[in-house]
């Protein structure tokens, strides 16, 4: 799960700590919640849940990501990091997103660097 993505995962909101990486790409380590080279300090492990489980809403709050839970359906949706959105609004740097064309070929914004880009989003409703 990329930090820029919204992820829908089929899981109850309380999960085994071992499942965290598979579900959201972050791992609970002694130094905190970690992904690649980045770690977020967990000030109080108890906030995340008991020793063998973690609360996804608590994890999302620590990572500054919005979350929605539908317990009856056993689904959790976790949004992109708020700071990514806020920094784009503040600093005006467009995120390097990728989208597929009609043939399924992916195109990244960075593929078009040094050109002016008109980005159109539309719906046929």
């Amino acid at each position: 799960m990329d930090p820029a993505d919204i992820a829908v995962v089929e899981t109850p909101p309380e999960v085994s700590a071992d499942m965290l990486e598979e579900l959201i790409g972050w791992t609970l380590k002694p130094q905190g919640l970690c992904r690649d080279e980045r770690c977020v300090i967990v000030p109080d492990r108890a906030v995340l849940g008991s020793d063998d489980s973690v609360s996804l809403p608590a994890v999302a709050e620590l990572l500054d990501r919005p979350i929605a839970v539908d317990e009856s359906a056993g689904l959790v949706a976790i949004g992109a990091e708020r700071e990514q959105r806020r920094s784009a609004l503040r600093d005006r740097k467009a995120p390097d997103f990728s989208l597929p064309d009609l043939d399924g070929t992916w195109h990244a914004l960075s593929d078009h660097r040094s050109k002016k880009k008109l980005l159109v989003a539309f719906s046929s409703w």
Partner: protein
């Protein structure tokens, strides 16, 4: 739409524009003015929003709007899985949380068996106008 320059900087935040004036009387946006603004930007780099006003020109989402988008995503996931009751539960919640978000309210109409061009659409328009046409973007309606 929005304009991104050669260095991947957003030089004009998103705004509503149309390629034709077919529905101009309805939405109040002149297509000719928008198209000319785009041509002007391509030619000389000038935009409808002064550079110093671009940062901060678009308000961030509220907590409710964020959650609305996530419940919309849960709803489409459940709909695709054949759980119509679960989908409806989340569509309704998404619309309650983000009542003026057209990508939630209007987009959910056909997914919930409604008509995005029917009475409920015009109810949405009335609500939207009454609320002052809230939009996370630049409103150029009426500009020429």
């Amino acid at each position: 739409m929005l304009l991104i320059d050669e260095d991947d900087m957003i030089v004009h935040p998103n705004w509503n524009a149309y390629a034709t004036n077919t529905f101009k009387e309805f939405h109040g946006i002149d297509a000719d003015a928008q198209l000319e603004a785009i041509r002007r930007w391509v030619r000389d780099g000038s935009t409808m929003v002064p550079a110093e006003e671009v940062a901060g020109a678009v308000d961030d989402l509220t907590d409710e709007e964020e959650r609305g988008k996530l419940h919309f995503r849960l709803a489409t996931h459940l709909r695709n899985a054949g759980d119509d009751d679960g989908a409806e539960r989340n569509f309704a919640l998404a619309c309650d949380l983000a009542p003026h978000d057209w990508t939630i309210r209007r987009a959910s109409m056909p997914l919930r068996g409604g008509d995005p061009f029917g009475a409920e659409f015009f109810e949405l328009v009335a609500e939207y106008n009454e609320a002052g046409r809230p939009y996370h973007g630049i409103n150029h309606a009426g500009s020429s």
